[in-house]
């Protein structure tokens, strides 16, 4: 497995607090990676550091071996990295259709979003701020799917969804890695459903890596009772 993007010795500080204490996290290319950990363990911070919206206070971000630590977030996005943040992941004042127009020019390009989330078909004209939390998640993830980005980073994509919808969401993301050949990184609280098929699981605890390996490895369940 070649490495698509990785944090190496990454440290992130928020004022007096350090949220990541020099972690090494590698995301295999074209596979599904899952970041696990409870609240405050540094999952979101790791994703934000990969996407470039929080600066590192130490360490590096490598993308296909190239050091992108100093690259602006918008330049990383233009190079094909899409982060779906946990909160405020949509533009509340734009309609669903306008969201799609931001990432894909032609109407036909939207098909993957409708295949993944058929419910969106009837909501095209609605302003996203008026949709339910779950529908907003679908719009947010659709944006990443349609963007053509090769690296998808998703912060708790299943949050706020009904169990069946969350399972569907995880299924869609696993397929993106398996069939689409995209590098997919999902941060979640628990390893459920389709996420069990992940190539690599990283478990974070209090800003450090507690476990890295395959879900089937013997150490996983023992080390991840968090």
């Amino acid at each position: 497995m070649s490495v698509e993007i990785e944090l190496r010795g990454a440290r992130v500080r928020y004022g007096p607090l350090e949220a990541l204490h020099g972690v090494d996290l590698a995301m295999p290319s074209g596979r599904l990676t899952v970041l696990l950990g409870r609240n405050g363990s540094g999952r979101s911070t790791a994703l934000h550091a990969l996407a470039g919206i929080v600066p590192l206070s130490g360490g590096r971000v490598l993308w296909r071996g190239e050091d992108v630590t100093g690259l602006d977030a918008f330049r990383r996005a233009r190079r094909g990295l899409a982060l779906v943040p946990e909160q405020r992941a949509v533009f509340g004042s734009l309609t669903v259709e306008e969201h799609f127009a931001l990432v894909t020019g032609d109407v036909g390009g939207r098909t993957p979003a409708f295949e993944a989330f058929p419910a969106l078909r009837g909501l095209l004209k609605r302003r996203v701020g008026t949709l339910s939390g779950g529908e907003q998640r679908m719009v947010a993830v659709s944006l990443a799917l349609l963007s053509g980005a090769g690296v998808l980073l998703l912060d708790e994509p299943g949050q706020g969804l009904a169990p069946a919808a969350a399972a569907r969401m995880h299924q869609v993301l696993a397929e993106q890695a398996a069939d689409g050949g995209r590098t997919v990184v999902v941060a979640e609280q628990q390893l459920r459903g389709a996420l069990r098929g992940a190539a690599v699981v990283h478990v974070l605890r209090r800003g450090s890596v507690a476990f890295t390996g395959e879900p089937a490895e013997p150490g996983f369940t023992r080390r991840t009772r968090w």
């Binding site: 996407a51 919206i53 602006d72 977030a73 918008f74 330049r75 996005a77 233009r78 899409a82 982060l83 943040p85 405020r88 992941a89 949509v90 533009f91 509340g92 004042s93 734009l94 306008e98 127009a101 931001l102 990432v103 944006l143 963007s147």
Partner: protein, 646 residues
């Protein structure tokens, strides 16, 4: 008659065009950056001053000077502001209150700088860019060339903006950046560039409006800034959204203002019509803020909570130093003591901002209006011109004036029930300007006033002691607002309005209460200011001065009573000790830098000292937590546990 109407309409278009340019610039900046730039007027003023400097003093050719001012300096100011002030704030995700204070900081900074560079005297010799010679249009209508050019400038700028937003990607990018900056960046949009373009363009329109307007009036640091600030009405009236609506409103108000001068009603109504006619943009601003309670379509904003940090903002050492400084003037020479008389009075006015904004979380830019009303009512009561009341003794007039102004706090308290953030700031500002224009500037209220100090206190020393006593009383009242049940309710309302309401805090009533207390405090301070100077001077209560006061309080820490007293000392001390305008400059610089020390100066100093002095507290306990006996036991257990643990 018809020709007079047409002539007046054409004259109105001149002012209307400048207002339209302001409206376009404010809306574009707001849409690009989410910031309503209150410093717009100050940028216009500085650009006009610079043009005058280049042409009149340094004898540049007008064309070259105008090109430099409009194409280089004005957009440059915008870019510099973006780089130094607003980009760091945006990157931090600062809320409305913080950006608002930053724009206020820029405003007072530029006004202060203009004061220092060019003095406060009005200049009537600003060169006009286009000659006023008449040209005859096809159809036989004779128009002045400058009117034509102004109108043309508006049309060109408006069409250019419309074209750019419609046919280039930047329009979509603008909407995305304003809606959710971080997400726009994650979608590959260079938000910094979009914001820089927005600021450069906004400043360019400000400069253009400034140099077009300046030849029509006498240029001084306050006047033009405030005039342009008033024309903010057209942007607000257009909901900070629609350019055609802004241009239309601007031209209609401009023409209407001009036509009103031809109206000659009965003698009784004459002053009112004149006042309305001269200040139609203020009326438009008032109407807009009351018709549109949710400006910019953004409803739920964290109000002023971001201006405070909810930490300890007082310290015995600070208060002791403060007391010493306040007692010092008693030993001063007569001249200096006279100047020092303003400090306690101003401190009481500034305390009103602490109560309303710092404790209550409501942004109020109109406190200068209440201070002025306090002074005016005290003067009217003691002069016997208060609606048929006999002349009262000053000892009675002072408290009565305060009691009369307190209920007027509902003027801003009532709108505040449904408004937050920007909308509330604009409403309070509009009311402050309206009070200044329709009350303080009207001879009906202000003629024949005398304002004396209370009997037995006419000497400076005695009056100063009297002021100190009242300041102490005010501080004690304010202190009680910060503690107990009431203090907790106010803090809850400030930090999270809906949460407070859900927890049983009567939010509307509490807002009215905060504004009433604020109005009373401002009135007391204002009346003392008037008595100290033995006159009611409307210039002391200029709305621009109110903005300066607000910025000064926030800089010191909005919820710090100690900070308010220090701010008063700073404002008076700097201006009397050095040149007028220095205090504005200092407050402006500090306000602009507020992003670097959130929560205000006093707060920052105290926190730093605590962090340095005290040993690091355990992981679960805030450094300044006041614990019960049970809490202390828990803390000790936690500390000993974490000491043993890994």
């Amino acid at each position: 008659m018809a020709s007079l109407t047409v002539d007046l309409a054409l004259a109105g278009i001149a002012v209307g065009s400048a207002a339209a340019l302001t409206g376009i610039g404010l809306i574009v900046t707001y849409r690009a950056t989410g910031v309503l730039n209150l410093a717009h007027g100050a940028i216009a003023m500085v650009t006009a001053y610079l043009l005058r400097q280049l042409v009149v003093v340094w004898h540049w050719p007008t064309g070259a000077a105008a090109a430099l001012c409009l194409l280089v300096v004005a957009p440059g100011i915008g870019v510099v502001l973006d780089l130094l002030v607003f980009r760091p704030l945006a990157a931090r995700g600062a809320g409305t209150a913080e950006t608002l204070v930053a724009t206020l900081g820029v405003f007072v900074l530029l006004v202060g700088a203009a004061f220092l560079a060019w003095g406060g005297d009005a200049r009537a010799d600003v060169p006009s860019l286009v000659s006023a010679r008449p040209v005859t249009l096809p159809g036989g209508l004779s128009v002045r060339l400058d009117t034509l050019v102004q109108f043309g400038a508006v049309a060109v700028v408006a069409l250019a903006v419309a074209a750019v937003t419609r046919w280039t990607r930047i329009g979509d990018e603008l909407r995305a950046v304003v809606d959710n900056r971080r997400l726009a960046v994650l979608r590959g949009i260079d938000a910094d560039r979009v914001a820089a373009v927005g600021w450069a363009f906004g400043s360019f329109t400000a400069g253009l409006a400034g140099v077009l307007l300046a030849p029509y009036l006498r240029l001084d640091p306050y006047g033009l800034s405030l005039l342009v600030l008033e024309t903010m009405a057209v942007a607000v009236g257009a909901g900070m959204r629609s350019l055609p609506a802004a241009v239309f409103t601007a031209l209609v108000v401009g023409v209407a203002q001009s036509e009103l001068t031809a109206l000659h009603p009965t003698a009784a109504a004459q002053p009112l019509v004149q006042a309305v006619g001269a200040n139609l943009f203020v009326v438009a601003l008032l109407v807009s803020v009351f018709v549109l309670p949710r400006i910019g379509g953004v409803g739920a904003e964290r109000a002023a909570a971001a201006l405070t940090r909810g930490r300890r903002t007082t310290s015995p050492v600070g208060w002791a130093a403060c007391a010493v400084v306040l007692l010092l003037p008693l030993g001063l020479r007569a001249m200096d003591l006279y100047a020092a008389l303003q400090v306690p009075a101003l401190a009481i006015v500034l305390l009103s901002i602490v109560v309303v904004t710092g404790y209550g979380g409501q942004i109020s830019l109109g406190q200068a209006g209440y201070a002025g009303l306090g002074a005016l009512f005290a003067a009217m009561l003691s002069s016997g011109t208060f609606f048929g009341l006999p002349p009262l003794d000053e000892f009675a007039a002072l408290p009565l004036a305060v009691l009369l102004v307190a209920p007027l706090g509902l003027l801003t308290g009532w709108p505040a029930i449904r408004r937050r953030g920007l909308a509330l700031a604009l409403t309070t500002f509009a009311l402050g300007v309206a009070v200044s224009r329709f009350v303080f500037a009207q001879p009906f209220f202000t003629s024949g006033l005398v304002l004396n100090r209370p009997r037995g206190l006419s000497g400076d020393r005695a009056f100063y002691v009297f002021e100190l006593a009242l300041l102490t009383a005010a501080l004690l009242v304010v202190r009680n607002l910060h503690r107990g049940r009431l203090g907790r309710a106010l803090a809850a309302m400030r930090d999270h309005e809906q949460g407070a309401a859900a927890a049983g805090v009567p939010v509307p009533r509490l807002k009215l209460f905060a504004f009433a207390v604020g109005a009373a405090s401002a009135a007391l301070g204002g009346a003392l200011l008037g008595m100290a100077g033995r006159a009611f001077d409307p210039a002391d209560f200029d709305p621009v001065r109110g903005l300066l006061w607000f910025a000064a309080v926030v800089v010191m820490g909005a919820d710090s009573a100690l900070g308010a007293v220090l701010a008063a000392g700073l404002l008076v001390g700097l201006d009397t000790g050095t040149h007028e305008g220095v205090s504005a400059l200092v407050v402006g610089v500090l306000a602009v830098l507020l992003g670097r020390f959130p929560g205000g100066l006093v707060n920052t100093v105290l926190t730093r000292r605590e962090e340095r002095g005290a040993p690091r507290a355990g992981p679960l306990v805030a450094p300044d937590a006041v614990l019960t006996a049970e809490g202390r036991r828990v803390r000790d257990r936690v500390r000993s546990a974490s000491g043993r643990g890994p």
